[in-house]
Symmetry: C2
């Protein structure tokens, strides 16, 4: 299976697949006589796994670490569980931050509604955002 066919199967571009190889997510495959990459069918499974893991919010570096454990012949379940816990905590933190930003923006929105543009002087650039 050449790179174009694999890309079509996985719903990726050939560029992305080469990038994954470069990033250490895919082992360099054997080559045809002409130097074309010649993938085994299992590579599609691997790409599907990468997609699923990305959908869960894992980074490529984390996915690479999971694949490395599996490639080393061990089940990566424990590591995956840790990563999930860790990401869940990060997502919660990020949501809390954004909720704060949201509140600040809503407050600015109210202030904007109450602002007369005649009160906006040069000195503070824009009274809505200042102070």
């Amino acid at each position: 299976m050449r790179i174009g066919a694999l890309a079509a199967t996985a719903g990726l571009t050939t560029r992305t697949i080469r990038f994954y190889e470069h990033a250490g997510l895919l082992a360099p495959p054997p080559r045809t006589g002409a130097g074309y990459r010649d993938y085994p069918a299992e590579t599609a499974t691997r790409l599907a796994f990468i997609r699923d893991a990305q959908a869960a919010g894992l980074t490529l570096a984390e996915i690479r670490s999971i694949l490395a454990i599996r490639d080393g012949g061990h089940p990566p379940c424990r590591h995956v569980t840790d990563l999930i816990d860790q990401h869940l905590a990060q997502v919660d933190e990020r949501i809390a931050e954004l909720t704060q930003t949201r509140a600040a923006l809503a407050s600015l929105q109210r202030r904007a509604a109450a602002t007369d543009s005649a009160d906006c002087h040069d000195t503070d650039i824009c009274t809505i955002l200042t102070g």
Copy 2:
């Protein structure tokens, strides 16, 4: 006021202030005989405005656009209001995305708790994340 004093006043590094100039947020100030940047006191206000606007989640490009309007002699209130509305919508969208990711991660966490590592075979790399 030279760049070091301005940086100390604003709580920034000299590098960041030069970067702001390069990014079009600050006009190139006059220079001393030795070629040092020599800022008027109002620049501190401008930097404080940039800080406040950043705290509201605006990007430097957006802040630059606000400053450009003010520098053009107009009150930027209307533009600022639009940007706030726009960002509020973006933040809401982002929170919704993260809430979805959070739910997905929580679901994976439950699945992980129910997974026996003996069931994790090579073929699907990690059953927790697959499917």
